[in-house]
């Protein structure tokens, strides 16, 4: 179903066709097509998890596709490694900058292909003057090539990344959300640079969540959804926003969300969690929030909108610069996880493996870790009781396999998440903070996880949910707070919102517009 290339165009610089890539439990790319012409700005759109980053990693040679063909300037090529891609003239600027902070600007720009004499003596002066030349071309002659990269601002580091891409003979540059860390002025400069590159015949693959940017500099748009390209090469300037959003959100997989209880039910209960003017400088503006037993409240917003930061600050993992968090009317000690846990708050963190789990340990030990004192007398563990209690908690969530001695790392993502939930269930917590609870969980297991979360709420837990997947927030939560760039821009009953409205709220109006 890949559309034919428009006949009036010259042969494309790059054609990717039928690219598939699977990771354990996830099909990240499911037959993606992409065509890029020389000298165009080709925008890549899609929600989180649509496959954008996997696709650009394939293009950068960092991932090998399972199937599919890549044609570069008329020849079929295989991008076996990042170096192979670079040799062809494909450069990638990642969202997380990959600079070595301890090295100078010039050393970073020429990292891996330093100008040398006799094969090993680095000719620093040559590298510095070449770097100065590139930086001048990028409109940033003020960056000193001998300066340490660690001392530069985020925007300047981005320029250095770009200089590194340009230090190669480059024909295609992939930019992954390059404007995310930039001020409006710097965005203008970025667009000027992109304009200059395309005038020289270099193609740019541009990824951004901000539609108005795509309108300004994009030539064509490819939309990804659930690992497939749902639209290839649409005109960037005059495809209606409504159509683009519809293509991003229309789903093949219908999520099954559990029934919502009568909204009136929770209202007469006393709130268990109250957040009053909680703020962290540079991350999010003061937030007020009330959470009642039996209620699920969702925070919707893009990466960088402050949603995870709010959750972690409520939990005490980050120290607020203002405001306070109260459980049953008594304030928690700011910045103290232990105070929150004692008061009955639990967190299922965003990075499950890095922040949530003890990967070398069994299910039991992962579940019991927050309740150890319950199974001990003067420090002495009753392991039989511990194991039995952990098993009760995991059975209640139908965690599979039903073996408390199984190693946590052998479990699927969904069951690992259940182990984290069981930890708080066992602890008897009353407020559950869920950060991206279905990340890395395959589609089939999600519905089950949704049902578990709703049931916990029905049993009287108060749940605060963060997700980058708008349908998840809308489908699961009773009330939704929409965040944009660290501020709550809208609060509503989840029934009164739809996906388009939320996406409009989080994408369209950026403070620059």
């Amino acid at each position: 179903m890949a559309p034919e290339p428009a006949p009036d165009l010259e042969p494309p610089l790059l054609t990717m066709s039928g690219i598939t890539k699977s990771f354990p439990g996830v099909r990240a790319l499911d037959g993606v097509d992409l065509q890029v012409q020389a000298g165009e700005v080709h925008c890549l759109l899609g929600q989180n998890g649509a496959g954008k980053s996997t696709l650009i990693k394939v293009l950068a040679g960092a991932h090998q596709p399972d199937t599919g063909e890549i044609t570069w300037r008329g020849d079929v090529v295989s991008l076996k490694s990042p170096i192979a891609a670079m040799r062809l003239g494909i450069a990638t600027i990642y969202q997380e900058l990959d600079l070595v902070e301890g090295l100078s600007v010039a050393e970073n720009v020429f990292l891996g292909h330093e100008p040398t004499s006799a094969g090993f003596v680095v000719r620093g002066k040559e590298a510095r003057s070449a770097t100065a030349l590139i930086l001048g071309r990028l409109g940033h002659p003020e960056i000193d090539p001998a300066h340490h990269v660690g001392d530069l601002s985020a925007a300047q580091q981005q320029i250095v990344s770009m200089a590194r891409a340009l230090s190669h003979e480059v024909r295609l540059i992939v930019m992954d959300e390059p404007s995310a860390a930039l001020d409006p002025d710097e965005v203008d400069n970025l667009f000027r640079i992109v304009g200059g590159l395309t005038a020289d015949g270099v193609a740019v693959v541009y990824i951004s969540h901000r539609l108005e940017e795509i309108r300004r500099i994009g030539d064509r748009v490819t939309v990804l959804k659930d690992g497939r390209a749902v639209a290839v090469g649409l005109p960037a300037r005059d495809t209606p926003t409504r159509d683009i959003v519809a293509m991003m959100t229309g789903r093949n997989v219908e999520y099954v969300f559990p029934e919502r209880p009568d909204p009136a039910r929770a209202v007469d209960r006393q709130p268990v969690l109250r957040v009053e003017g909680l703020a962290r400088e540079g991350e999010f503006a003061p937030v007020d929030l009330e959470l009642r037993p039996g209620e699920i409240v969702g925070l919707a917003g893009l990466v960088g909108s402050g949603r995870s930061e709010i959750l972690e600050t409520i939990y005490g993992a980050r120290k607020p610069s203002a405001g306070r968090v109260l459980i049953d009317g008594s304030p928690l000690r700011p910045g103290s996880v232990r105070s929150a846990v004692r008061a009955g708050v639990g967190l299922a963190p965003e990075e499950r493996k890095a922040q949530g789990l003890l990967m070398l340990e069994s299910v039991t030990r992962n579940v019991s870790v927050s309740s150890l004192s319950r199974f001990s007398r003067s420090g002495w563990l009753d392991r039989r009781q511990e194991r039995a209690a952990a098993q009760r908690a995991t059975r209640e969530l139908s965690l599979r396999p039903d073996n408390p001695d199984a190693r946590i790392r052998t479990l699927s993502g969904g069951n690992q998440q259940k182990a984290v939930l069981a930890r708080w269930l066992l602890r008897g917590c009353r407020v559950l903070l869920l950060d991206e609870p279905t990340r890395g969980v395959d589609v089939g297991a999600r519905a089950e996880l949704y049902a578990v979360i709703r049931r916990l709420a029905d049993e009287g837990l108060a749940v605060l949910l963060v997700s980058s997947e708008v349908p998840e927030v809308l489908g699961l939560a009773d009330r939704v707070l929409v965040l944009r760039e660290g501020s709550v821009v809208h609060t509503a009953d989840a029934r009164e919102l739809d996906e388009h409205r939320v996406l409009d709220l989080v994408m369209e109006g950026s403070p620059t517009a």
């Binding site: 939990y315 003890l358 070398l360 069994s362 870790v369 073996n403």
Partner: protein
């Protein structure tokens, strides 16, 4: 023969195991793999004993020689038990040898010896705990990297030990202390120092495998961020662990005083390396999150036995060092292989 019990050999059999899908998670590998490693180390030890018995049948297997080997193993063994906890938590303690030296000289000054047996024991333990406290505070609350903090302690504790002794050997004059080292004090043929080592081992094993303290240690070493977010006081746990290591050094220093009949600023030289090596070949992960006291003790016994066999056969210590190095490399390679099997 009873295997040193492993953490997962526990509780009732699991009736569900049969109906479950056959997979990685079903082999109860937590304990099994530790057992395999301990078994292979036991094998190495058996081979060493055979070699010793064949090359020097009369001398190696003589009761007095076995008593000597075990006594030598005891002092470094106590230090290794403490080190195993620290490494399991993802830390390292480079200062153990220097703390042993400092504690041994502080406890044998003329002034201390006036207080007799109790004075010597008390001083050794307090000095060890004090050094551990400084290490722990610097690391847990000062945010210092364990490697650096304990390296600084290594340098300053050795320096202080030299300052106190002025490089002279301080002879012990308290008879009740010296009496512990002589043959008459042996209980059923077992030297008291070996009994101390056995007690420390048993307590260490219980602490690591049967208490909340041990569980928290493993959690901090396995994933400190996850432990913190699970509500564990990671900093306090770290402080306790370096205190524990310091305590073990204090006990070892007292044992050394008994054995040598003196205190010296050169005591405990390179103990840190021997203790780390013994823990690592025993199966404790240098990156933290997994530790085995039984493995560490076997590691200590393997190294001590090698030293003994080489000495009996009049081989140079150079050869002995090379053999030690080879064993470390081989053990870590085996460890990697078993671990990678689990990652698949």
């Amino acid at each position: 023969m009873t295997q040193p019990a492993s953490p997962a050999q526990q509780d009732a059999p699991i009736p569900t195991a049969k109906s479950a899908p056959a997979g990685e998670g079903w082999r109860r590998p937590l304990g099994l793999r530790a057992d395999v490693r301990n078994l292979s180390l036991l094998g190495v030890l058996a081979v060493l004993i055979a070699v010793g018995g064949i090359t020097k049948p009369d001398e190696f297997l003589a009761t007095s020689n076995l008593q000597l080997v075990l006594t030598q193993a005891s002092i470094i063994g106590v230090v290794t038990v403490g080190m195993t906890f620290v490494i399991t938590s993802g830390g390292i303690d480079l200062s153990v040898g220097a703390i042993v030296a400092l504690a041994s000289v502080w406890a044998t000054t003329v002034a201390t010896q006036e207080y007799g047996f109790a004075g010597i024991l008390f001083t050794a333990v307090i000095v060890g705990l004090g050094c551990g406290l400084v290490n722990g505070l610097l690391i847990a609350y000062g945010g210092m990297v364990p490697f650096i903090a304990t390296l600084a302690m290594l340098a300053s504790a050795r320096g202080l030990a030299l300052q106190i002794t002025d490089g002279k050997t301080q002879m012990v004059t308290v008879n009740s202390v010296l009496d512990l080292g002589i043959r008459d004090a042996y209980i059923l043929g077992i030297p008291p120092l070996v009994l101390v080592f056995a007690a420390v081992t048993v307590i260490g094993w219980l602490l690591l495998n049967r208490t909340t303290f041990g569980r928290r240690t493993v959690a901090v070493g396995g994933n400190a961020e996850a432990a913190r977010l699970a509500g564990i006081d990671v900093r306090r746990q770290r402080l306790y662990l370096y205190l524990l290591s310091g305590l073990c050094c204090g006990i070892a220093a007292f044992m050394l005083i008994v054995l040598a009949g003196s205190g010296q600023n050169t005591n405990g030289n390179l103990y840190e390396l021997d203790a780390i090596a013994a823990a690592i070949i025993g199966g404790t992960l240098l990156s933290g999150g997994r530790g085995t006291i039984a493995g560490s003790v076997l590691g200590v016994l393997v190294f001590t036995t090698i030293t003994n066999i080489f000495a009996l056969n009049n081989l140079e210590s150079a050869v002995q060092q090379i053999a030690k190095g080879a064993i470390i490399v081989a053990a870590v390679l085996v460890q990697h292989r078993t671990l990678r099997g689990g990652d698949a």
